[in-house]
Subunit: 88 residues, 5 copies
Amino acid sequence: MQIVRVIGTTTATLKEAGLSGQKFLIVQPVKPDGKPASEPTCVAVDSVGAGRGDLCLMVTGSAARVVRGAAGLPVDAALIAVIDEISV
Amino acid sequence: MQIVRVIGTTTATLKEAGLSGQKFLIVQPVKPDGKPASEPTCVAVDSVGAGRGDLCLMVTGSAARVVRGAAGLPVDAALIAVIDEISV
Amino acid sequence: MQIVRVIGTTTATLKEAGLSGQKFLIVQPVKPDGKPASEPTCVAVDSVGAGRGDLCLMVTGSAARVVRGAAGLPVDAALIAVIDEISV
Amino acid sequence: MQIVRVIGTTTATLKEAGLSGQKFLIVQPVKPDGKPASEPTCVAVDSVGAGRGDLCLMVTGSAARVVRGAAGLPVDAALIAVIDEISV
Amino acid sequence: MQIVRVIGTTTATLKEAGLSGQKFLIVQPVKPDGKPASEPTCVAVDSVGAGRGDLCLMVTGSAARVVRGAAGLPVDAALIAVIDEISV
């Protein structure tokens, strides 16, 4: 899992069947201290109610389709948790 | 998913069975502000009608074979949505 | 597998069903000499009892769901061994 | 898919059962203008008859096992098309 | 597949069930000329009898579990061939 911060949203009318109702959140990979780790070029779907500014755990690859409600969807990144605390 | 811009096309006569009729689009990974994020070395198939210049969401890996019409095809990148708006 | 050192933990109340009881460990990729190889942006689940400071082997991708107790969980990184010794 | 150029071959007597008869081609990732994009550290199997110097489309990951004749083989990169033309 | 050189070994007493008897080899990604391409942070299992100093082909991801004896094991990197010759 990657530590990411939700920094925005994106919308799309023209999309694959099945993606209606999915939120597409733009995420910024961050280091444990919360500082940016790389460019924010990734977009994730969300099933845990994450919002802008939240620090989250993101899965990529086939794990994104194990998320509740995402089986059979063409997605490769999903938020699986909103982080309460990081201790390093 | 990655934010990409369609910047070109590629054609191939000699190819795997099953790929006939697929569009192969050259894509440029971009940042939320639309500026290039890395070299445009990736090619994606498309099922949403994306065209040159469109900003899109791209999936990579096995998710590309969950796309409509791509089950059983040897592809690892597909456009799943044409982006209307990005808000960061 | 990647050689990583466990450098911290993270907690999350709001998370995907099924993740309750999972430990989320922050890991630092390291070189064979134990020095950091890249930024510690990765979080792994653990089924082998790894603790802070331990040098471990981490799998990523679908292999993380082959780990004991992780079948069907939306995870993409898991510790599979605590390293005793590295010889290069 | 990645745009690559075939730059060499490699042979192996000692290998996994099932790999006999497979061609292992060394490929160079290239940009749409045909210039090298990164180090040529990747080797791909081929089912489309690609030869040295050919510009090709390469899939990586599980897609490489969807290729004709590669089901059940331990491979993670395959050439799926010989490129005729690139237009950017 | 990646071209790698075996540069060491690692041992672990505390590990996932099923991994007993597996060799864990530390590998160095190399370029076709045999020079290092990146940091040696990867560890692979081996079913072809590779030893220290050998130049090998390595698969990563789910392909590592298609290797003989690795079905159902939590591994994401495996050596599938010992290279005899590279021609570029």
